[in-house]
């Protein structure tokens, strides 16, 4: 098929630079919103999913959707600790951690507004169960003391949680002796302290959760069966990765739906802009269209040329929007996760899939906006075009 040269298409966009920029600019904004929303959802999911370790299992009270709603009594915990299938560490101790998890309402550094921060009572075993957590400043808390360590997102964002600072709650002062980094996972948004100290301070008799490592994947079935068959245990066992994935579902889905609805609405504006521009382009070049058809170019060549012009226009917009969106990766953001009721810090994450989806969306807008004008251009009669010159 004989097509009209690409230079004709591209140069026409350049010649009407202001219009091209205005139209592409409108599209770029829509693309920016679209990409940022996808990046947000991806960032939340990535943060939470990475939080889980492949062979770790989480124990929660039956029906509790979040750790803070869950309670495991000491006697139940003792039974679970002795189940078969739990791995041991180098020193032969079973890799099990019994953890109370509570929320602490703390003021933000930026504006003093309070938000709920997850406070987890854990132990050295708890650290071993999460190898991605590394201390980057100070040291680990000493067991049996009121020392705490803070995730670096919390230390950065909340008053009283920096190295050397003190939090006051449950009638005690808790000194921050270390800051940890958990490699962009959910633990960056937590504060850790000694498990038994927390239990005592909060006068609790029940842990919130238990975490342990399986000897290997095949042990999971056996553990689940043992738990289900024991009437004293009203708990669920979940692989850690699955648990954290579920924790992000609600928030990620909400953001995705909100964002996509917005993008679709916005895209109508951008498509209208593209349509106006392309109709004007066709109207301005009616004489050229007639000439090209007279010379022997087919209707489909005319259609393709104008459609390509619209696609190129939207590609420019798409690339601009994507470029702007990629800068958001440098921004730190946090919000309250509805499911856990606590603060979650995450990043905007740009993946190759998002790049493809975004450019695809952009081209789709260009196609929809440009199709009718291009179709009209192709349908015109040669003599009508030439008469208009």
């Amino acid at each position: 098929m004989k097509l009209i040269p690409f230079s004709y298409v591209a140069r026409n966009l350049w010649v009407r630079r202001v219009t091209t920029l205005l139209t592409a600019g409108g599209m770029a904004l829509v693309v920016f919103v679209f990409a940022v929303v996808l990046m947000m959802g991806e960032g939340i999911r990535a943060t939470l999913v990475a939080t889980g370790q492949p062979d770790n299992v989480l124990i929660l009270r039956k029906g509790a959707g979040a750790e803070i709603n869950s309670g495991i009594a000491r006697d139940q915990a003792a039974i679970i600790e002795s189940l078969a299938g739990i791995a041991t560490n180098g020193e032969g101790r079973p890799l099990v951690s019994k953890e109370p998890v509570v929320l602490n309402n703390l003021p933000k550094r930026s504006n003093g507004k309070p938000s709920n921060v997850t406070l987890r009572g854990t132990s050295q075993l708890g650290m071993e169960l999460r190898p991605q957590v590394q201390l980057i400043q100070g040291r680990m808390f000493r067991p049996g003391t009121s020392e705490i360590v803070a995730g670096h997102a919390i230390a950065k964002g909340f008053r009283g949680t920096g190295l050397g600072e003190t939090l006051h709650f449950a009638q005690r002062d808790w000194l921050v002796v270390g800051i940890f980094d958990s490699g962009k996972t959910g633990f960056d948004s937590e504060i850790w302290g000694d498990s038994e100290q927390m239990m005592a301070a909060f006068r609790r008799n029940a842990y919130s959760t238990m975490v342990f490592r399986l000897t290997d994947q095949s042990a999971l079935a056996g553990v689940k069966a043992a738990i289900d068959n024991d009437p004293r245990l009203q708990v669920d066992a979940k692989p850690e990765i699955q648990f954290y994935a579920e924790q992000s579902e609600g928030l990620a889905t909400f953001i995705r739906i909100l964002g996509l609805s917005l993008s679709i609405i916005f895209s109508i504006g951008a498509v209208v802009g593209a349509m106006i521009t392309m109709f004007a382009a066709v109207a301005q070049r009616v004489g050229e269209i007639g000439t090209l058809r007279a010379l022997g170019f087919r209707r489909v060549a005319v259609l393709s040329a104008f459609l390509l012009e619209s696609l190129l226009l939207s590609l420019v917009g798409g690339v601009l929007g994507l470029f702007a969106a990629s800068w958001m990766q440098a921004v730190d953001i946090s919000t309250t996760n509805f499911q856990t009721f606590s603060e979650l810090a995450f990043q905007f994450k740009l993946t190759p899939v998002i790049v493809v989806q975004t450019l695809g969306f952009s081209l789709f807008m260009g196609f929809v906006g440009g199709f009718i004008p291009a179709w009209r251009a192709a349908r015109m009669k040669i003599v009508d075009c030439l008469r208009a010159v």
């Binding site: 004989k2 040269p5 230079s7 004709y8 010649v15 004489g287 007279a294 010379l295 022997g296």
Partner: protein, 237 residues
């Protein structure tokens, strides 16, 4: 004029009627015309006489409502739109009153356009374009855009474009309509050259008596009908 060979253009009983606002408007009625190869003819007539319509039908950019047009033995009145486009690409060269060049393409690229519809390679196309631009004496302006050329130069580019595929027929609609006297003379001389040196068949619509006088035969139309030669008052040169 004795027709020894088959006429290159053979028109029989040509009708063209437009529908405007539900009313049929006849523009051409029962036109018969023969044009020999290498003839240079001028179509003339007052406004609304149908001369441009006749030109459009000969050029294959419009379809008749009745009658036949045979060009080079091909009955173009029955060709499908796609085939007609292909036929035009191979057999017709166009020259318009307002040059009709693509403003965003250089002179070279404008002349190259019809060649893109052939199967020639890039280097082959280059050779043809340069030859055509040479013929109109614009080889030093190949990379210029239309807005960097004078009216006369633009029309010469258009002529080069009309020649580049070596068409059977050159069709010109008021080629000197937008040019001053001196430039018009230049263009008309060039058309003369094409006719005498290259043996091109040229059909030209014009108001301009000076342009008409360059043609070797004048066809007059009035209200959609050919006026026989004897009824024409020969214009003074």
């Amino acid at each position: 004029m004795t027709a020894t060979a088959e006429p290159v253009i053979r028109i029989r009983n040509l009708d063209k009627t437009y529908i405007r606002g539900g009313q049929p408007i006849p523009v051409l009625q029962g036109v018969d015309l023969d044009v020999q190869e290498a003839e240079f003819i001028a179509l003339m007539g007052p406004s609304g006489s149908g001369k441009s319509t006749l030109l459009n039908l000969i050029a294959g950019i419009d379809k008749p409502t009745g009658g036949t047009i045979e060009i080079g033995g091909v009955n173009i009145s029955t060709l499908s739109e796609g085939d007609l486009a292909d036929w035009r690409a191979a057999h017709v060269g166009f020259i318009f009153q307002f040059y009709n060049l693509m403003p965003v393409l250089t002179a070279f690229e404008n002349v190259e356009l019809p060649l893109l519809l052939t199967g020639l390679s890039r280097s082959q196309r280059k050779a043809h374009v340069e030859a055509a631009l040479n013929m109109v004496r614009l080889e030093d302006r190949m990379e210029h855009y239309p807005n960097e050329l004078s009216g006369g130069q633009q029309q010469r580019v258009a002529i080069a474009r009309a020649l580049v595929t070596d068409p059977t027929l050159i069709v010109a609609d008021e080629p000197t309509g937008d040019l001053d006297r001196a430039t018009a003379e230049e263009i008309l001389s060039m058309l003369d050259e094409l006719h005498s040196e290259l043996g091109k068949t040229i059909v030209m619509v014009t108001h301009d008596p000076k342009a008409a006088s360059r043609a070797k035969r004048m066809i007059h139309l009035e209200k959609g009908v050919l006026v026989p030669d004897s009824d024409i008052l020969v214009p003074v040169h």
